[in-house]
Every structure is written in structure tokens, then in C-alpha cells.
Symmetry: D2
Subunit: 356 residues, 4 copies
Amino acid sequence: MVVVMRGGASDVDIDKVVHAITEAGGDAFVSRGKHQTIIGLVGDLTHFAELPLHAFPGVEDVIRVSKPYKLVSNDAHPRPSTVWVGDSAIGRDTVTLIAGPCAVETEEQAREACRMAKEAGATILRGGAYKPRTSPYSFQGLGEPGLDLLQATARDLQLPFVTEVVTPADVETVAAKADMLQVGARNMQNFQLLKEVGMAGRPVLLKRGLTATIDEWIMAAEYIAQTGNLQIVLCERGIRTYEPMTRNTLDVSAVPVAQSLSHLPIIIDPSHSGGRRELVLPLIRAAIAVGADGVIVDVHPHPESALVDGPQALVKEDVVRLRETVARFAEAAGRDVARVDHERSTGAWGRSASVL
Amino acid sequence: MVVVMRGGASDVDIDKVVHAITEAGGDAFVSRGKHQTIIGLVGDLTHFAELPLHAFPGVEDVIRVSKPYKLVSNDAHPRPSTVWVGDSAIGRDTVTLIAGPCAVETEEQAREACRMAKEAGATILRGGAYKPRTSPYSFQGLGEPGLDLLQATARDLQLPFVTEVVTPADVETVAAKADMLQVGARNMQNFQLLKEVGMAGRPVLLKRGLTATIDEWIMAAEYIAQTGNLQIVLCERGIRTYEPMTRNTLDVSAVPVAQSLSHLPIIIDPSHSGGRRELVLPLIRAAIAVGADGVIVDVHPHPESALVDGPQALVKEDVVRLRETVARFAEAAGRDVARVDHERSTGAWGRSASVL
Amino acid sequence: MVVVMRGGASDVDIDKVVHAITEAGGDAFVSRGKHQTIIGLVGDLTHFAELPLHAFPGVEDVIRVSKPYKLVSNDAHPRPSTVWVGDSAIGRDTVTLIAGPCAVETEEQAREACRMAKEAGATILRGGAYKPRTSPYSFQGLGEPGLDLLQATARDLQLPFVTEVVTPADVETVAAKADMLQVGARNMQNFQLLKEVGMAGRPVLLKRGLTATIDEWIMAAEYIAQTGNLQIVLCERGIRTYEPMTRNTLDVSAVPVAQSLSHLPIIIDPSHSGGRRELVLPLIRAAIAVGADGVIVDVHPHPESALVDGPQALVKEDVVRLRETVARFAEAAGRDVARVDHERSTGAWGRSASVL
Amino acid sequence: MVVVMRGGASDVDIDKVVHAITEAGGDAFVSRGKHQTIIGLVGDLTHFAELPLHAFPGVEDVIRVSKPYKLVSNDAHPRPSTVWVGDSAIGRDTVTLIAGPCAVETEEQAREACRMAKEAGATILRGGAYKPRTSPYSFQGLGEPGLDLLQATARDLQLPFVTEVVTPADVETVAAKADMLQVGARNMQNFQLLKEVGMAGRPVLLKRGLTATIDEWIMAAEYIAQTGNLQIVLCERGIRTYEPMTRNTLDVSAVPVAQSLSHLPIIIDPSHSGGRRELVLPLIRAAIAVGADGVIVDVHPHPESALVDGPQALVKEDVVRLRETVARFAEAAGRDVARVDHERSTGAWGRSASVL
């Protein structure tokens, strides 16, 4: 960290800052310039983070240099992680397709959508039973019955599945049935949820908040990691900008940036960012090309009767193109398309999840 | 709502839309133009909101016209509400000052900060016991002991207090002691929390999310209102923009805009938006001038040792100016400075809260 | 400036940076930490600004500390400036009202709007003859005939006027007739225009770009100042954010922030930021309260036939309220409403402009 | 267009709107609902665009449905255009690499950078002689001597080149020597520049403004097209958001969205959006994958001595990877890498440019 003193800061002001740093167990280097003095801090950032240096007299600015996360940072763990969801891996060597219905509506719709997903090459299914909705008048998901439907469908298709959990009280129920827990964009800084999801022992899919910086997103992953659970996959899903033609602006640069900071796998959700069916395949291509470790995609057998986000779901006609697109761009990116590794199976999906 | 058909939409496409609307109990008016056809929808929006018209073949766009909230909208309740917190009112005729420490750190600090607040004219105290923090390595608040400290201090000073609740499991504990529950910016779309806070029967202070539109914010209030609790106060606290010189950009326009849509009182938090002490008083002046029903302000006796947000807290030297500033601009705005109305007291603060 | 080296930077890398700084005439202070080394730079920033330190091997980040502007900064000129437009001042002691039609459409409309402006207490008139329009199919302004109309009207009313100039080739023509030249938001970084406007010798009204940081805005003023013309007034007019309910988000915090960095006067345009008539008066109140040195407001006698921005113009019924609002909030802010100072007049308006 | 009336609008209000539309030569369809009335407009949008319907009494909102551009829209010209720059094409079938130095600094640097570009497979060179810079104290480009250097280098290498023009007065000089004129992000709404660049008869590279919507960007292209010049290439270069880790946020979705609206080719600038060398290749991959018709890339032989934007330039070690990356992802995208077509040559590069 660097503390920048105001032009008119006195020696007493400077001494106070140096003293506080030394007290906290750090070293302070004072560089006196013609107009301004700069104080460099060296030592364990964790202590300094608590020092309210900003509020000291004569301080103009405090500039953080080191990254504030530890467990999920590249420094701690230089090799990229692979996260296993059941027998399906998400990591730096492969491209993993996760697909399924945005929300579970009926048994038929869930089964049909999951079959479409498997046909397209998905090795992990997705589906929503608990839906966070902007309006209290919108469909809120089927809840536990939806979860049961998803579980039955996934078991039949012999694939693991990921589903969102929206509140701490539901974590136990969802973790008992799902193979991976999703924390949605709106809950990225729901810190109690992060902790409970971490403690559930399942791999976690952590979506970036609508307006979260990459730093804040990785810090949210650190909350999960602190519970001892490092089976975390980051998911970029578009950020809020002024542009009205897409629901959100997919920030593909976030993939290489996050990879330069953290060892966690990172995937992209092209369905929710674009918000329009015709954007999904182009954004999947961009996602794989930029280096994402996978994509998570909405599919729906009858989008015109979908209760949630129909306009962005891929349909039956898209299944073959989806499979081919993933294959073609994975190859260009020098990766294999992820496959289910039943050899690895321990008979207890999800429970076997671990970070390699 | 208006459904805009693509240039090449067929009559069959148009008929499908009209049929779906009629089925949902609405009326559809078809306007055929040279290049495009427009379908106007009339009827109860609640039903149409569920129709995935966006996903119908031939549909280019669906434009929502009516406002999607009911209980908190001006249509339902044309006169502005007054919310009572203990014997202190927040409403359209007065300017209410809420003040206190950002976080409770020690008994001395809490008492001193609350005394400063009362001296400045605050009729409601604020203080944080449970703090949502971006980093798991930052001070997370004292929790329940902090709550007890706040309660004791507030009772001594004979003022009600508001404090944040960050997760559904804490609602009961906090509601048993606090006079008003705050939902923070990060939790604005934590829908389970909104529901439980609503059901606690206390007045609620609902901060606008860092990147929430005014529409989404009022929809979040609707979630609370649906529990039967209309004692809701909106709080604008700055939105996230590209400008780095302020922590957030205070959106003063949100005050008249929200007042044109909802009957709920609205206040401004100048401390967290600006993030710098020297901006607090100018932003308080702007808040009162633009028509806010109150302001909520951080004060701290020793900000250079503050564990949270020291740089933005007002200090002892500011107390008199704070009092005078509120008085001067309340008068210019044609309002009275709010005062505690002990006549109204029922002996059970907070429990007596109601919407007039 | 501070140069932050990567964790793995070698001594050779560090020496290269130190050498480059010394070559440029500066001093470098090296602070070696356990994980990272920081290099503090002291000396004349102007030289270092040219050093591409970012591109040196081993450099992770370069953090600018000092402010990059000189002529318009508070350091150079600690007392706030007053800019004279004809006999009308804009400065820290007064609140100046600038008003008139957004665009000149007809002689009658221009005269009537300017009379409304004078009646409301404006001491400077505004009006657009050259209009930058997003669409080539929109009304582009009357051009020079519009300028003549404005001049004639202003002379009759004995008030100076400000008008926008959109391209360098028009500067001479406009400067010959107008008392103050406006550089619009879209042209804030049209550097050639800034230079030519500066050299025209007239006071300049510099609007903040739609997405300009406060730093970039003040740097744009520095371009003008470099021509020797310090008669510059900054104008905040709203920035682009994700919020759709207002045309732009008025950033009132920009007023105290800019005042802490620069000696130039700063005013607010509440008409273009809000984009709706009912927001204009509340935003004027906020502008004056937060400390703006003036406001610039659209008025129109018949907004329903306006060719540009009718929805936001104040109308005849608003004139008295506008006058009273400015007076009331100027008083609360401890300022006088600006008046024309004919004593000061030299008979050659505008030519007498100077910075006090 | 759709006019939405307020709840309380009277029949007289509605009649006024209908009358104004009819007067303007359009048809109005009135849909009366229980709470609100909607008026659909059918006819030539160009006329209605001038109607200030927003300002009519009783009008709540005016929603534009049709796209406001004509010459550059897909409706007018359903097949994608190919723009020729000298003997090099930019269009929907190929991927074109444009490369060269951000700014021309010396003859050696320019020659070396351009040779690197050709070696990497560039068929069009880029280089800046006139640089728009945020600070007046930064290097402003070599001006005309830089232009001459670029021209000589390009002729030697038998490739056309594109260079930026920053002000109308320079258009003639630049157009006499360059094969394609670039309008930079800061000048996207410098309408006079757009017109003069259009009239120069050269192909134009139009960068998206830092905060321009896709609609505004295409409207800016329409300004150029109105001069009769349809040789326009759009260039996405990142938009300004709150995220600090990248200079700008590359909006890859803008490619398929713009392609769905306009027949113009569209390329991506990965150098200026990311602002960091290590992001350039990943973003090039994403650009080609998402469907861009080309990329424009900074290269520099000695970035640590670059006067402008050194940190983002590719270096000699990157040349082979750049060539291979473009080839590999062009193939995955089902396109050829563009090659110079000397067969097509007329001996007078640039003058022969045309839209096929």
C-alpha cells in the first residue's frame, strides 16, 4: 500500500501515519518530494486493511497495491484448479458445457430440456427451482418439487446438475439433492449465503454481481474459500452498463483478467447477458475463444410458453449447432470438449467433489 | 404494454399474440403500419407480465407501459405516507435527521457518537452491529453485543434507532431490539430478507442497490409491502458509475422521480455516496433542497481510529454546522425540522409504528 | 507517481526504471517489501507523464498521484475566479441565472423566451443557433441567422448571451457576435475546437462530456487555458449511467469536487440532465444548495411546438417560481443573486471579459 | 412510434396528438384502455422525429419503434457490404488484420512496426500522425511529417494505410495521402468532421464513442453516408464502465447486434479496450469468434520507449502468434484470412475504393 500525503501535510501528520503502520507490525518508507510526501507500506496487508489511514490528518489518498485475497489467489496456488461436479470436470484443459432450463416448470419441460442439453454435449445440467425475481408478481419457481424433478431427471440422464440457492435456510435442502450450488448475481455479496454455501461441502458456481468489480467478485469467492471449500467456479454473466440493446454487457475481458489473479476456473453465461436467442451462439464462440473453461446455457423445448426468460433460450433446432460450435471453438482454443469421466466415479456424485 | 412485431411477421404470428392476450383476459388492439404492426394491450398487467410474449415468433420487442408495482405506487395511495419510528416521523412535511456511528465499536464510541447525533438534532439514531463487508478480513461488526449497546444508548437518549439486518436468521433478534430495520444496498434484492423484514412488523429503511434502477428499487419495496407492512422508507445512497473521485455518484434526481411514482418517504445518505467528509455537508444541502424527507449521516468522535468508513464521518467540530445546515435548508424547502413527538408516545416505541 | 513492480521483478528491471526517472530529471525512492517493490517518483510530473513506465519489464502498475493540470488548478491560483460575461459575473459569491431557448427557431420564439429569461432574473441569455444532433434528420439549428436573432434580442434586452459553437470553422463568426462561447458535452474532447475557442478571447462555457471523468473535464479546460484564456466556466450537465428514468444522472458531487481541484467557476444545467420539466426546479434547488455558482436553464414560450428538447423547457407559468427559487436557495447558501453591473460596463461587452 | 398518454389525459389531449400526427402526414391508431390510452403512429418516421410529442399536454412517454437510420440500415441494403481499402477488402467473408504503430514517432520505429504488421499478415497498415490526447502536456503526434513517413512506409510495403483525422481542417491533407480515414472515439459525434470525412471520398473507419450506444454509433455512420460515401467500417473499441481492471470494457455483443441492424462491416480494436498487452491476443480470438470482420492492433518494436500507449502494443515475439491466432480463429469462424488482391488494383489505391 502507498499513503499519499496532501501538499500541506505536517511532519506530525507524517509521523502519525508511520507510527500507526509500525504499531500494526509493518514497515513504512517515507519518500519526501518537493510538493508531496509518499509513504510506502510493506508487510502483511491483512493488518493494514484495518487501519483507517484514509481518515488520518494530512492523508490525501491510500492506494492499495497488493491483492486483498489469499486462498483463491494465484499467489497461493499458482496452478489453475479443476473443480469436479460429480464425474464432470471444469478446468483449464477442457471446455465444459452446462445446459438445461432456466426454470423448471413441468416434468415434461424439465425432461425435454435436459435431454436437449445432453444431446448438445452438456456434462452438467442446469435448472432453476428457486428463482429470484425482480417482481413479487412473477413466477418464483417450483421450489422443492422442482428440485426433486431436476434430481430425478439428472439421475436418469446420469449427469450431475447445478441449481441456484437463494437464501441460507434453503442451503441444506438444496445441497442434499444438487451436485453443485449456484449463487446468483443478486446474491454475490449476500455474505451469510456465501458462508453457508461454502460449508455445505458442494462445489459452488459463483456468478458475478451485476455491478461487481472483478476484485469484489474474487473477494466474494474468498468468503466461500474461508469455509475450507475451494471447489468454486466463477461465472461471468454480463455487467450493467448504459447500452440498452443487450440485457447486460458481457465482459469477456474478465476471463483473462480473473485468470491472472485467481486459480479458480471461470465460465461464461451467454444466455443471461445477451438476453436474446440470436446472440447466444456468437457469445458462446467468444467465450470459448477468450479462454473460458466452459459455458452455461439456457435451453427450452417451447420457449414461447416459458415462464422465465424464454426469449434467450436455445431451442431444438439449435442443439446440433450448439454441439458443433463448442467442438469447433474448443479445438481452435487448443482444448478438449469435457466428457463425463465415469472411471472417476465413486458412486456418490458431488460428495466426491474435490480440487485437484 | 405494447408488442412490436418484426417487419416480416405474418398474420399467423399476429393472431397468436392476440390470442394469448385474450386468453389472459386482456384486450388487444392491432395497428397495422406500412412496415410494422404494433399491438396494444389493455387490461390487468399482472396477468400479462407472465406471458412470455418476447419469445413468440415474429415479435421484435415488448414495451411495458404501466408501472408494475401496486401497493407502494402513487396510484394506490395518492397522498404521501408518513412513517413513524418510535415517536419520530419521516414524511413529506418535515426534514428528519438520522445520525450515529457507521459501526458500533466500543461502548464509549457508541455513546459519544449518539450524543453528537442528538446534539446535531437527530430524532432517530443509526448504528451498525452487523456489517456486510466486501472482504472477509475486514471488521464484521460486534453483532448482538453491538445491538445491545445501541439499544441501551438509544434508551438513555430517549431516541429510537435504526440498524441493519443482513440475513433472514437475524431478523427476529434485531427486530426485538431495534426500532427500525435497515436493508442495505447489497441486499436490496435479497428477496427472502425483504419478506422476513416485512413480517417483523417494524418500519423498514430500504437502501437503493448500488446498481438498481429506480423501478427495481420500488419493486423491492413492493416485496416488503406484500407482507402487509407499508412502513417503508426509501434511501438513495449513490449509484455506481465510472467516476472515480467519489465512492458513488449520488443520484439526487431519484428523489423527485421516486416521489412521482410512490407514496413512500425517501431520504438520502450523503456519507456513503461521497465517501469523503468534505462532501457530506454540501450533499446534505442538496438532499434537502431537492426534496428529500430526511438524511442519514455518519458521525464519529475519533474517525482516525474508526474500524469502518472513518473518512466520511462527521466529527465534533461539524455538529453545530450540521444542525444549522439542516435548519437553514429545511426552511428554504418550506419544511419544518422533524422533532420527537412525545405526546404521540404509547410507551412502546416502534411497536406503535404506523403509516398515516 | 508511484511505480509498482511485479512480484517477480528483477534488480535489473528496478534499475531500468530508476535510471529512466533520473534521466528525466526526477528522483526515485525504492521501497523493497517482502513480496513487492515500490518506486516513488519525485519531481516535475510533466516530464514523467511522457515516460512509458507502464511498458517497462517488471512493472505491474503506475499510479499517478499529483494532479496533471496546472493553469486551472487550485495550486496555481488558490482564490476562486470570477468570470465576467459582459457586465454579468459568474463566481463564488453569487448565484448566476443563465436562461433562454434551447434552440432559436423563430424571431418571435427567441424574443419571447429571452423576455421570460430576463423576467425570471437571468443576467445572461442562452440560445442555440448551431445544434449538434444525434440524427442527421433532426433540426440542426438556424445557423448564422439564428445567431443574428440572438444578438439583436440580447442587445434589446441589454443582456449578454452565450451560444454553442460546434466546429473550429465557426469560431470566428460566433465570437464576433456572442458574448460567451459554449463548448458542448459532445465536443469536450474536440481539442482543436478547445484551442480555437480559447484563442477567440471570449469567455468559454465548457460542458462536461457525457462520460467524462472530473479529471478529464478539468484537463479539457487546461487546453483552453493554455491559449492564455482563463475566462472559463465549467458546466455539469449530467453523466450517462444505467438509469433510464432520467435522460442523464446529474452528478451534484462534481461541484464540490471540482471546486477542490480548480479555481474556475462551476454551474449546473438542470434542463438537459433531467430531461423532464418537473425535474428542473428541484434540480435547480439542489444545484444552488450544493454550491454551484449558477444554473443554465431552458425556457420556451410554446414547448409543444419546440423543435428541440421541448419536454424539458420551463414555461411562462414557471417564471415567477424560477425567480423565487433562485432567490430563496441563494440566500440559504449564503450568496447573493447575481445582478448586471452596468457601472462596470466599458461599452464593449464581452471584450471586457477578464478573470479577477 | 407509440405515444403513451398519462392516466388522466383528456380527450382534448388525445385529439391534439392525433391531429399533429395527421398533419405530419401519418396515421394514428388510438387504443383506449381502462387506465391509459396508447396511440400508435404509422408512416414515415422522418416527419414524426421532428414532432415534439413529448411536450404535448397529457403525454407520458413516446416510444420509438422503427430504427432512425436509413442509408446504413439493413432494411435499405440487406446484403452485408464489403469496403475496399486499396486492394484490401473488409467484409463478411474474410477476417482482415489491420496493424501498425499507435503513433508514428520516428522513421525507424514506423518502418519496423509496419514490417512487423505485414509479417503478422496485416493487409492494411495503421499509424497515428495526429493524436487526440487527454492532456495538453502529452505527445500530440508528429502531424504532417508523420503522415509522410506513414505514406512512404506503406508504399514501400505495398500496403494501404489508415490514419486518424482529428479536425475538419486536416481532412484534405490527410485524404490526399492516406487510403482510409479514421474517426476516433472522442470524435464520433463531431458532426462537422463526419461530414467532411464523408465528402473526402476515402473509406472511413468509424470508432464507437466511449459511451455511445450502438444506435448513436450507427446514426453517426448515417451522417457520413448522407454525403454519398458508404465506404464505412464500424470499429468497436470498448466502452466506459465502472470496472477499473481494464481501460475499457470490450463489448463483443456489439458485433452481432450492429450486424443485425446495419450492412456495414464491423471490426474490433482489442488494444485500446484492454489497455494491456496480455489481453490483446485473447480479445483478438474473441473478436474473430463473435463474428467481427477484422481486428486493428497496435504493434511496436520497442514499447518501453513508446510515446503513446506502449503497455498495450504487441512486440516482435508476438508476431508469429498473432498471425497464427488470426488464421486459426478465422478458420473456426468459417472465414478466410483476408489477402491483398493485386488483381483488383487500378494503380490508384484508395481512389478506387467502393462498396460492393
